[in-house]
């Protein structure tokens, strides 16, 4: 372990001396103090609803007839196993995630690199402009893309047709093209990721770059050996967020497919199926079961990512 790491152990209170116990207890107590806002908030605003929603899974609750709910044991779970739509929608969510997750990291990373370049004039302006789409409200975004991607009058197809002479595809209602369409819309929402990675890049000490250049390294090597490793915490952050967001993906495909889950269930993302069951079919009991299944899967995926983190994420602070 590095000197840094050993010093870190020192700070975390594991002194190799007799005063170990009391110091550790003090540190732990302080830890609880600083953690308390979250503990209180969690108990007040999250714990009760989460447990309640778990309780729903054992009932046949209908939102519009709350008084008529009754206990049904594991029925909902049995339905869960036999429901073909569960597998279908999970497949949709996961297969979209496989494409979208890398893109949601690579594109912002590329943009951040571009905007980090010292040779770029007007950096502040460029950054603002690239960030701007992130600030547009979702209702506006769906209108924009419904219009922009329309087969007949959408700018994209008109550009393809009038300027490039290609017959543009049916972006919003074809099984082949709906995923690229969703990706395009998703790219518009990478402003935040770009920002965080850029901020992270900016904190890399310039001495490191200087030292590397003195040693004769070129741009690409610098990027691979210095920039990239040092921003892994931020990449990790964005990866987790993207993962969670993709599990919860709902608003955009719902509006684009007019609540139907797309042509032939191609955009029947898991959350859309959940919404359909819980609200449209008014079966919150079964819906809660669906939600908790998603929760378990999502939690496992997140834990897995955290476990792999120690292999590729570099923390200078020596913690975790």
């Amino acid at each position: 372990m590095s000197v840094v790491g050993q010093m870190g152990k020192l700070a975390s209170g594991r002194l190799p001396s007799g005063g170990e116990m009391s110091l550790q207890r003090t540190r732990t107590l302080w830890g609880w103090v600083f953690l308390s806002p979250w503990i209180i908030g969690f108990l007040a605003f999250y714990f009760v609803p989460m447990v309640a929603s778990f309780a729903f899974t054992f009932t046949d609750l209908r939102l519009t007839r709350p008084g008529e709910a009754s206990f049904v044991g594991l029925d909902n779970y049995r339905t869960l196993f036999n429901d073909p739509y569960v597998g279908k929608s999970l497949r949709v969510t996961l297969s979209y995630m496989v494409i979208a997750l890398p893109i949601s990291i690579i594109i912002p990373l590329g943009l951040a690199t571009l905007l980090n370049s010292k040779s770029l004039w007007g950096r502040r302006l460029f950054r603002t402009l690239f960030y701007m789409p992130y600030v547009v409200p979702i209702i506006s975004v769906t209108y924009i893309f419904n219009g922009f991607l329309n087969t007949q009058s959408g700018w994209l197809n008109r550009f393809l047709g009038e300027v490039l002479g290609i017959s543009g595809p049916n972006w919003l209602y074809s099984s082949t093209w709906i995923y690229p369409a969703l990706l395009l819309i998703g790219i518009w929402g990478t402003g935040n990721a770009m920002l965080t990675m850029l901020a992270s890049m900016q904190t890399i000490p310039t001495e490191l770059y200087e030292a590397a250049r003195v040693d004769g390294a070129n741009g690409v090597t610098i990027f691979r050996k210095i920039t990239l490793p040092l921003i892994t915490p931020m990449i990790f952050y964005n990866l987790i967020l993207a993962l969670i967001a993709l599990f919860r993906y709902f608003d955009i495909p719902y509006i684009i497919s007019r609540g139907t889950g797309g042509p032939n269930d191609i955009t029947l993302f898991y959350n859309i199926y959940f919404y359909r069951v819980a609200i449209q079919y008014d079966r919150m009991g079964y819906g809660a079961t669906l939600a908790w299944l998603l929760f378990v899967i999502g939690l496992l995926a997140t834990i897995f990512l955290f476990a792999t983190a120690r292999h590729w994420v570099y923390y200078a602070g020596g913690d975790d």
Binding site: M7, W38, L114, L120, T128, V136, A199, D319
Partner: protein, 522 residues
């Protein structure tokens, strides 16, 4: 980077400088191109925001309207039958003395023009008879009672009863007759229907019944096909001429491939109505003339949206919710992230996972119990409290970010301060926060933007009190399934963008500033 150019001097320096310039220009160019592609949907948004609904349906990218010509010539023809117009009916005898009910279209010097409503296809009838024999067709003016009384007296709700002007108790009154028994007549007063029944004795023939003219509304096509009215506006087209030039004519009747198109030449009104197919340069039935358009942006869309949703109030609400929440989240998330990164907590990883789990569970499923807590237990619906208070207790997104950031801060500085005798709080304030300032500003900005556009929770908690709703909820008024107003949505979204973007631009200086590491021993 070029500090180490101490090694370069002379011509190499100059070359290097030019290379730098060239590289910079290239990068700017490339970035600009990427930006244009990236923001092209924005262009669509901006352009839609300044169009009217008919302009949206046009193929032109920019909002354009036809250039119109206002007709200043004479009315053509002398008379016309227009669709939807009313023409009074008259009793007219024809040559054989038979009486007809015809609609009077026009009164000319020597004849009258009539149209037979029962036989419109035959066209108009030119009648040159004696005008004295023509009488207007009239019917009684009526009043219908809409109340629920007088059933025993024989008043039937909804039946039209004829109106009369007659003298009652020395006063002239206008009453509706609903029943007559010999010389006794019973009336209702239209001005005061519930005021009781008026009884009147006398000969009803002495009372003056109110009559009104009867009209025929023309439903068929207008007669003739082309009608010109002074003051009417016609679109201007560019028409090719024999000698290869262009003239500007006004189209007075549109046609398709199968029908005729008619123009008039504003510079030569005497030439009359020009049929396209008869022109020497018409090489096909469909005119190859193009409409003349002018740029016509609907800047009033912004004003309309502003007024319709009371933009200043919504802006204020949104800002309040965003700022208060931002303060809360920054304070609480800093504390919590500090706890996670610098302190030995039992089951730290488990706790962290619990923190993350609050955002993994789909919010729809916890919505009802959460709403229940806020509404029945706390009574906070209709206020901003459900939207602000929870943020004072930290949330997973920002804690994650700050945790990541804090983890990159070297522990040496902490230790140095500890050796100097500083307590954990002091360390937080003097060591961690100054270093993590960029991340903290980032968190503030992220929360601000999130709160700016969040719409479902604000919607449901401000339902009973629309005065306090934020912008994202207010904008929904333009999105009702019937009669969506896409131009107003985009206009409002553009106006709503301004503040966060300006904030971002200004905030960059703070959190984009790189931190120069000092005090770290190599």
């Amino acid at each position: 980077m070029f500090k180490s150019k101490t090694k370069l001097w002379g011509s190499k320096k100059i070359v290097a400088r030019y290379r730098n310039l060239g590289l910079g220009a290239l990068i700017v160019l490339f970035t600009t191109m990427v930006l244009i592609v990236y923001l092209s949907p924005f262009g669509y948004m901006g352009v839609t925001a300044i169009k009217s609904k008919p302009q949206i349906t046009q193929k032109d990218i920019l909002p354009v309207s036809n250039v119109m010509y206002e007709y200043t010539g004479e009315e053509y023809p002398e008379w016309s039958v227009l669709t939807g117009s009313k023409y009074p009916l008259y009793h007219v005898p024809d040559e054989d003395g038979e009486m007809h009910e015809w609609a009077l279209i026009a009164t000319l010097e020597d004849r009258l023009i009539f149209l037979d409503p029962g036989n419109v296809r035959e066209g108009v009838i030119e009648w040159a008879g004696d005008r004295g024999t023509v009488e207007p067709v009239v019917e009684a003016e009526t009043f219908a009672y809409v109340g629920t009384g007088y059933k025993e007296e024989g008043v039937v709700r909804g039946t039209p009863y004829p109106l009369y002007d007659l003298e009652v108790d020395g006063q002239m009154r206008r009453l509706a007759l609903f029943k007559s028994e010999g010389e006794t007549h019973y009336f209702l007063n239209p001005e005061d229907p519930e005021g009781g029944i008026v009884e009147w004795q006398g000969d009803i023939a002495s009372a003056a019944p109110l009559e009104e003219a009867v009209f025929y509304t023309h439903r068929g096509k207008k007669i003739p096909d082309v009608v010109l009215q002074p003051g009417a506006q016609y679109p201007v087209y560019e028409v090719p001429t024999e000698d290869g030039g262009i003239q500007r004519w006004a189209m007075v009747q549109e046609g398709t491939g199968a029908t005729e198109t008619y123009f008039i030449n504003p510079d030569n009104l005497d030439a009359g109505i020009l049929a396209w197919s008869e022109q020497p340069f018409a090489d096909q039935q469909r005119p190859t003339a193009n409409p003349v358009k002018r740029f016509d942006a609907q800047w009033q869309n912004f004003e309309q949206a502003w007024d319709a949703i009371n933009f200043p109030r919504l802006l204020f609400n949104t800002a309040m919710i965003a700022i208060l929440g931002m303060i809360g989240t920054v304070v609480s998330c800093t504390l919590v992230a500090y706890a996670f990164t610098r302190f030995p907590l039992p089951f730290k990883n488990v706790l962290f996972m619990v923190l993350l789990s609050t955002i993994i569970l789909p919010k729809q499923v916890t919505l009802v119990p959460t709403y229940f807590v806020f509404s029945q237990v706390l009574g906070w619906t209709g206020t901003w409290l459900p939207l602000i208070v929870p943020h004072f207790f930290a949330n997973a997104y920002n804690v994650l970010l700050l945790r990541q950031y804090f983890s990159t801060l070297p522990i040496e500085l902490d230790e140095a301060a500890m050796i100097d005798g500083a307590g954990p709080f002091r360390i937080l304030i003097s060591v961690i926060i100054p270093q993590a300032w960029p991340a903290i500003v980032a968190v503030s900005l992220f929360h601000f933007v999130f709160a700016w556009n969040d719409y479902f929770e604000p919607l449901i908690y401000t339902l009973s009190n629309p005065e306090i709703a934020p912008l994202s909820v207010g904008i929904q008024i333009f999105n009702f399934v019937y009669d969506q107003q896409p131009h107003l949505i985009q206009a409002t979204a553009l106006m709503g963008l301004v503040i966060p973007v300006v904030l971002f631009f200004l905030a960059q200086r703070v959190f984009m500033r790189g931190v120069i590491m000092t005090g770290v021993d190599k």
